[in-house]
């Protein structure tokens, strides 16, 4: 008994708590639910890119035997959208369609074949308008407006001008510019979108299971679209097959399933095809970036001047936030004082973009890290030296008022430099091989929520009953990233009990406290902290009970997790006995824990939208990529990646490693092979053959170094682990290609055709690459 210590759960590699269901196939995803007489929901999509809808006749579809409901915009009470200031989307197009594939009507029928026949019977008359598939076309003078209240088809022009850019640029020893173009990419999460909706006609209540990262937002938008009381809707999140941001806002299919279920007064399942999932999109926008950087001869950056234009698609979505991140996150990684940013988010007749892992930051980072690599070469500096010349010193506030409270970038650099044997190997590799490196960072949750309600950022309930198990109730959406596991670890660690005592119930609006959802890497930091707070509150209750039973003062109770005792010689009480005492006279215990951000983390006020980027903590990452280029075909092989990620504290090292590898891998897809494309607004690659997500053959060994620069406010010091390593891969790859072949790639993805063009251009130019900067 004297040897007894609390059980350690944090810092221990733990398998995910929902692993067994998933590996045995028992986990129920939205498409797996099947009630008796479940109707099939199917969506009619616009065949044209931009048109006024002048007439719609659904009568033949309604008359078709087996059809239980047909819904159109007439069934929608209001618009929806993720940002309260930009809700300009209808679940089903009202009056106008703005991209090919936009939903215009939907049916619920007894089977797929009947539903499809019904769709074919819906008559829609379109009066076509000019359509714009590029940002340039949409911005051209005289272009028809997609939305009457968005002049110039500009969703948002964002800008800031901090410090004295012109003066600091003039004081630089070297000033260079770069222009980059990055294709649009899509998340391609494993599970296509699906929603299972049950309507109780007797009570006028909706119960819905959407494949979402944000059950709370879906709840709000269902109520708004359907004109229902929020309390009459129950949202239950099933198991989710990934999201990566594609489900960080309410999707039409969620709303359409609700509308169909109510109209049919029945149970309706809507399962989108992969093509429809691509069309729903919400991926990362095509971007065009120009950037100018001033540098001293020792590598110190004096100023950054840059522009970003994003092709945002047909509706607002997250657009305002995305373009603001593209600017604000130039800060927070390095010690930069003067920066000027002009951003344009443009509305076009393509599917709406959204919040893709690394939201807004990735393409700016690509431009910046490529440019400073070339400048380092020109100045005769090692790429590591240039990064080290610009490190921040935490705690500090950036020029745009972002709080940097912990900072492990220096350690990340040290780790990857050593692990890759950079100093010994760089520049000495055989022909057609090269090494490149880059750094990146990301927020641990946005400190200001989109829907400001005055509530805490996160709330956790812990319930303990007679069986001495602990039920952890959370609204945070477990989407495969391991959030339920991390919360269970935080609670178990705080109480010192074995994790097997804890059952996590995630995201059922009838049971669990509200949570904003799984996005912007907020969950570990915010909900982790709330979990610790709740566990501390529970522990206090249990200590009181133990003191009562042991007849000692609460201060004298020693909590060993599974045992509470008065002193080393005391046999003590088991956890079960303490629980029995705590329940006596009181019954089931429910305690609460919450978390709130501190005002210093809310971002600045120096320019419009300066709150975007404000966070409690930044993660940091550095990576080295080694490549081989086939000189005949220009195919790139990634031989190896070394990546170090500062996550403050690895609560679950196994999950951290997986998240970091996943980020690198996702960055690899975007860097090398993934892109959407359109033929007059029709998606050319809306399938997994033409949209080229890397396969296991392309997947290199990824060696992960976990750096723990503890954050003073993080749960056990932790910060985010799931996004920060993504954006660094893109420039690390192109820097490696520059090292191997002497060409600077400014267009992504760097597919073989793009690289071959660069190589042939270099050969034509007699070996001296005219592209600025490359050796």
């Amino acid at each position: 008994m004297n040897e007894m210590t609390p059980v350690q759960s944090v810092g221990v590699a733990k398998p995910l708590v929902d692993g067994p269901e998933k590996t045995t196939g028992k986990a129920m995803f939205a498409a797996d639910f099947q009630a008796a007489e479940t109707l099939v929901g199917r969506i009619l999509r616009s065949p044209v890119a931009h048109a006024n809808i002048t007439a719609m006749d659904t009568s033949k579809a309604e008359a078709l035997p087996g059809v239980h409901a047909v819904v159109t915009e007439a069934d929608c009470s209001d618009t929806y959208g993720v940002l309260p200031i930009a809700m300009n989307e209808w679940a089903l197009a009202r009056g106008r369609v703005r991209y090919r594939g936009e939903p215009v009507a939907a049916v619920a029928a007894v089977d797929v074949a009947t539903a499809q026949r019904a769709l074919d019977l819906i008559e829609v008359t379109y009066e076509e308008l000019p359509a714009y598939f590029s940002a340039e076309e949409a911005r051209a003078e005289g272009a028809v407006l997609l939305h009457d209240d968005k002049p110039g088809n500009i969703e948002r022009d964002a800008e800031f001008d901090l410090g004295d850019v012109d003066k600091d640029m003039a004081e630089a020893d070297l000033v260079r510019e770069i222009e980059v173009k990055c294709s649009e990419v899509c998340q391609v999460q494993m599970e296509p979108h699906a929603t299972f909706a049950e309507y109780d006609g007797a009570r006028e209540r909706l119960t819905i299971r959407p494949s979402t990262q944000v059950p709370f937002y879906v709840h709000k938008m269902l109520a708004r679209t359907m004109g229902m009381a929020e309390g009459h809707i129950r949202v239950i999140k099933p198991h989710i097959g990934g999201g990566f941001g594609s489900r960080t806002e309410t999707l039409q299919s969620d709303l359409i399933a609700g509308l169909l279920a109510r109209k049919a007064r029945a149970t309706v399942k809507v399962v989108l095809s992969r093509e429809e999932t691509f069309i729903t999109h919400r991926g990362r926008p095509e971007s065009h970036i120009t950037m100018k950087v001033g540098m001293k001869s020792d590598g110190t950056i004096t100023a950054v001047d840059f522009t970003v234009q994003q092709r945002g698609g047909a509706y607002s979505g997250y657009g305002i936030v995305t373009i603001l991140y593209a600017g604000s996150m130039i800060y927070g990684l390095y010690n930069i004082s003067s920066a000027r940013f002009q951003g344009l988010r443009v509305l076009t007749n393509t599917p709406p973009c959204g919040a893709f892992r690394g939201h807004g930051t990735v393409k700016t980072r690509f431009a910046f890290e490529g440019l400073i690599d070339d400048m380092a070469r020109e100045l005769g500096l090692d790429p590591f030296a240039v990064r080290r010349a610009n490190l921040l010193a935490a705690p500090t506030m950036t020029e745009n008022d972002l709080l940097v409270n912990s900072y492990g970038l220096d350690q990340c650099l040290d780790w990857v430099e050593k692990a890759s044997d950079w100093q010994a190997r760089k520049g000495k590799l055989p022909a057609n091989k090269g090494m490149g490196m880059a750094c990146s960072h990301y927020i641990s949750g946005a400190s200001k929520p989109k829907h400001w309600t005055g509530e805490p950022h996160a709330t956790i309930h812990l319930r303990v009953d007679w069986d001495a198990s602990i039920t952890l109730l959370t609204g945070a959406a477990e989407i495969g990233q391991g959030s339920s596991t991390v919360m269970a670890q935080c609670v178990a660690e705080t109480l010192g009990v074995d994790m097997s005592r804890i059952n996590v119930v995630s995201s059922d609006s009838a049971l669990t406290p509200k949570d904003n959802g799984s996005y912007s890497s907020r969950v570990t930091y915010m909900v982790g902290n709330a979990s610790i707070d709740a566990a501390q509150n529970l522990k206090a209750r249990l200590i009181e009970a133990a003191a009562r039973k042991l007849e000692i003062a609460t201060d004298d109770v020693e909590c060993l997790g599974e045992v509470y005792r008065g002193g080393q010689q005391d046999q003590g009480l088991t956890f079960d006995e303490v629980v029995m005492e705590a329940l006596a006279g009181e019954g089931t215990i429910t305690v609460k824990g919450t978390f709130d951000t501190i005002p210093e983390s809310w971002g600045g006020r120096k320019y419009r939208g300066a709150a975007i980027g404000g966070t409690m903590a930044f993660s940091y990452a550095a990576q080295v990529v080694e490549v081989t280029v086939d000189p005949y075909t220009a195919e790139i092989t990634v031989d190896k990646v070394w990546v170090a990620h500062d996550c403050g504290k690895a609560l679950n090292p196994l999950a951290v490693e997986g998240q970091v590898q996943g980020s690198v891998w996702m960055g690899m897809g975007q860097a090398m092979s993934e892109e959407t494309g359109f033929h007059e607004g029709l998606p050319l690659a809306a399938n997994m053959l033409d949209y080229r997500v890397p396969t296991i053959i392309e997947s290199p060994p990824i060696e992960v170094g976990i750096i723990e620069a503890a954050d003073p406010h993080g749960p056990f010091g932790a910060k985010e682990a799931g996004e920060g390593s993504l954006s660094g891969f893109l420039p690390a790859l192109t820097n490696a290609v520059a090292d191997a072949m002497g060409v600077r790639a400014c267009e992504l993805p760097l597919t073989p055709d793009r690289l071959l063009e660069l190589l042939e251009k270099k050969a034509r130019d007699g070996g001296a690459n005219s592209d600025r900067g490359a050796a």
């Binding site: 074949a113 005949y632 195919e635 494309g677 033929h679 053959l689 080229r692 053959i697 392309e698 597919t751």
Partner: protein, 323 residues
């Protein structure tokens, strides 16, 4: 993926039964691995009433060797073909090509016959019913215009089977069975340069086997394929090379191409390389010769410019690997 319509699935045990079942169906298709056909059916490109499954016919599942000859059944899987010892020994390019098709699971189902009779592909054709309908369909399927070359009346959908160009190197013959019995045909004559109708198979004919003569031991061959990913993808360009060198001079040279036109074909006018020393200049000429005949069109997401150039580059790379 869209709904698979109701259809009858037949499991014949002999070639003759397969042919009769096909003939008896109002609209039937032969089915092997299904990795091409079933996708097209789900996309609404075709809606046969019956499928006649060929992978339970023993005669079509064997690889048999006779003196100087080999016969490969049409239902031999691509995995079996890639692993076959005699094929690897005498027809290396064929084994390599089979091993490069799609991914491991496709090769477990996919067959030689299926790969040789693959439908032609085009980014405007291999799309969903909704997509093609919104795009006014195309020449190859229900439409009036070609989106690759608007104004033209020729379909450029590309043949994308990997194995055919490798078999062409060895003057392979195909054995066909149909309502009128069996016949043999040079593999080259199985194809015509028309993306809409690229197979010369008669009504109800199926591919029973491929026959080839073993080349002399001096002959080497190899296959390489350009694609963005190392798995799954169809060839942007596929190149098979057959070469023999004696006394430092080229004595035998053939290059087969796939993925760059509606049919697989042997590059013409390579006689000029016979007797030449295989030096860098020669290999660059070979590259240019291949490039000149690889007239890829805009049928894939990847631009045709690259496909033309990489076809030549792969021929150069493969040839160089033998010196």
């Amino acid at each position: 993926m869209e709904l698979l319509p109701d259809l009858k699935l037949h499991h014949p045990r002999s070639v003759e039964d397969a042919v009769s079942l096909h003939a008896a169906a109002s609209s039937g298709r032969y089915l092997a691995g299904g990795s091409d056909l079933l996708v097209n059916i789900r996309r609404g490109i075709e809606q046969p009433e019956s499928l006649v499954y060929l992978n339970n016919i023993a005669e079509m599942q064997a690889i048999t060797e006779a003196t100087g000859q080999i016969s490969i059944g049409g239902a031999v899987t691509l995995r079996e073909l890639a692993e076959s010892a005699p094929v690897r020994q005498h027809f290396a390019a064929v084994a390599q090509a089979a091993g490069e098709v799609a991914g491991p699971s496709h090769r477990e189902y996919g067959t030689l016959g299926g790969n040789l009779c693959l439908d032609t592909r085009c980014v405007f054709y291999n799309q969903s019913e909704w997509w093609r309908s919104a795009n006014a369909y195309c020449l190859k399927n229900r439409g009036e215009i070609c989106h690759v070359a608007p104004g033209g009346k020729k379909c450029f959908a590309a043949f994308s089977g990997d194995v055919a160009p490798a078999l062409l190197l060895f003057d392979a013959e195909v054995e066909l069975a149909g309502p009128d019995g069996r016949r043999r045909l040079a593999l080259a004559d199985l194809y015509r340069n028309d993306g809409m109708d690229h197979l010369t198979l008669g009504q109800g004919e199926l591919l029973v086997a491929v026959h080839m003569a073993k080349p002399s031991e001096a002959v080497h061959s190899a296959y390489a394929k350009s694609r963005v990913r190392g798995s799954i993808d169809f060839p942007l360009a596929g190149v098979a090379v057959r070469i023999a060198v004696s006394d430092g001079k080229i004595s035998d040279l053939q290059v087969g191409l796939t993925g760059v036109s509606p049919l697989p074909f042997l590059v013409r006018k390579l006689d000029k390389f016979i007797g030449r020393a295989a030096d860098d200049a020669c290999l660059e000429e070979l590259r240019d010769a291949v490039r000149g005949q690889a007239k890829a069109m805009k049928t894939t997401f990847t631009p045709p410019h690259y496909r033309r150039r990489v076809a030549g580059a792969l021929a150069q790379k493969l040839a160089a690997s033998f010196f």
